[in-house]
Symmetry: C2
Subunit: 294 residues, 2 copies
């Protein structure tokens, strides 16, 4: 069980399910800052797990979920969110009394509710979402400073154990993040706007440029900074984003609809040669920019 050592959170054994960019970086920080005695990795690909050991992200690994979680007092779900349900079902019988299960997924709402019902009552679940990432995925991109100075949103519900929540706050603070608490459903609504929609917009832009009407002479070679920023966003893990889009589908459809309406309005202004209307629209973009650059 987790104990607070000299005011610091400490776990005996952390199991990380999925040692990619986020899971790997978390293992790296937790080991380096001695927030855990040891870290077990779990994954499907032995090669990746071996690279995770070499990178210092985990102490050892298992390909069996039972062996991975049965001694853990902290289990971190760090796979694409689409796998959470299957993992929770398969590990549930082996989780010991008092273990905290958390996740680092970008979608919370319905998943949190489902996970809470799948896990046994003697286990505490605390949803977590570190707002950190890179365009490159995988253990090779993991870094000890990934969470430093970033926000981490925790999404407690009425069912969340308060002591477990307190420990996870302390854990993420020790990792270097600033903690916010948010309702899981509200979390998904906000993320659809500020994170998932930008990715949808970037992927759709890349797809548009691939269209034969547009791409026949590879216009991309004449691109400048603007397009490069988009391509950076669109270079994230396809599997991760597939799961996010599917899991946050309702909110995604709403924000994409609103985005399409805005594009339609912009198009009308262009067709009407409404210079004043365009200037107003472009100037307003700077207002939101001021809020975004914190």
């Amino acid at each position: 069980m987790c104990v607070l050592k000299e005011g610091r959170v400490h776990f005996k054994q952390m199991a990380i399910i999925g040692v990619g960019l986020i899971g790997g970086s978390l293992g790296l920080v937790a080991r380096r800052k001695r927030l855990v005695r040891s870290v077990i990795g779990y994954g499907k690909r032995r090669g990746e797990l071996q690279r995770a050991i070499a990178a210092g992200a985990i102490d050892r690994y298992f390909l069996s979920i039972q062996k991975t979680v049965s001694d853990a007092d902290l289990v971190v779900l760090a796979t694409p969110v689409g796998m959470f349900e299957k993992i929770c079902r398969s590990m549930a019988p082996y989780l010991k009394e008092g273990t905290i299960v958390t996740d680092v997924g970008s979608v919370k709402g319905e998943w949190v509710e489902k996970i809470e019902t799948l896990l046994p009552p003697h286990v505490a679940f605390v949803g977590g979402h570190p707002i950190a990432g890179r365009e490159k995925s995988g253990i090779e991109s993991s870094a000890i400073e990934l969470f430093e100075g970033h926000r981490c949103i925790l999404t407690p519900t009425a069912r969340t154990s308060r002591p477990a929540l307190k420990k996870m706050r302390a854990f993420w603070e020790a990792v270097g993040a600033t903690i916010y608490e948010m309702d899981p459903v509200e979390h998904d609504r906000v993320m659809a706007a500020v994170s998932h929609l930008p990715h949808a917009a970037a992927y759709a832009l890349m797809e548009t440029l691939c269209h034969p009407d547009i791409a026949h002479d590879n216009p991309v070679r004449f691109s400048a900074g603007g397009l490069r920023d988009f391509t950076r966003i669109a270079a994230s893990s396809p599997e991760m984003w597939r799961d996010i889009f599917l899991a946050n589908g309702g909110n995604m459809i709403k924000v994409i609809n609103r985005y399409i309406q805005t594009l339609e309005a912009m198009k009308k202004k262009i067709a009407a040669q409404d210079g004043a209307g365009l200037t107003t629209l472009f100037s307003r973009a700077n207002v939101i920019r001021q809020k975004a650059i914190l």
Copy 2:
């Protein structure tokens, strides 16, 4: 008149109409690399012109277009493109024999044709578009290395003087750019896709996040890298982009339509929970990325 000194292009007097980011940087480089004997600035705001002198972008300035251009052997249009027609009309009577007029505008097609008819026959026009820029506009952001290693597209037509084109090639090469020649109409079609559409997408995204349905609790404070890249794009000069959108209206409407169709298709995949379809779409984005990162 321009002479090639020791194999290098050289102008006696360069007039820059509009000493913002691009005009100012061009003056800075041309003076530093001694591609010109002197640089005259023209603008509406005396304060900006004085700052351009302080920044080393121009030697002196006039508020009279006649005084600015009458001794120039190179005139560079560097205002927002919407002002080109008015400027060409007002300076036409004062341009001396053999002067080269060029521009740095992001839209070419119809403008080039119009400018060619507005300028007297003893003057050569060579359209130019350096693919360089920053999210910050104005003389304060000008920099000597702005064009270094970037592309500059020249857009000659059947009417373009070949000696003048050769000189402008040499000039931009001396500035540090790599030269491409492109038909003006083709230029606008390509730029609509790789430059103007990304800006439309970024502005529309910012506008969407401003919408009361979405912005009521300032979700932007929970944004991560993805949104920051967008806000950077959307922070460019509103006036410049207004003129680009209006001048390249036909192409803009086409690419925005295609973009909306792509977003609609993405939405359908989400609604249908079509994970395989989303993965294909996201993976394809990496293909275009490979082409973009040159």
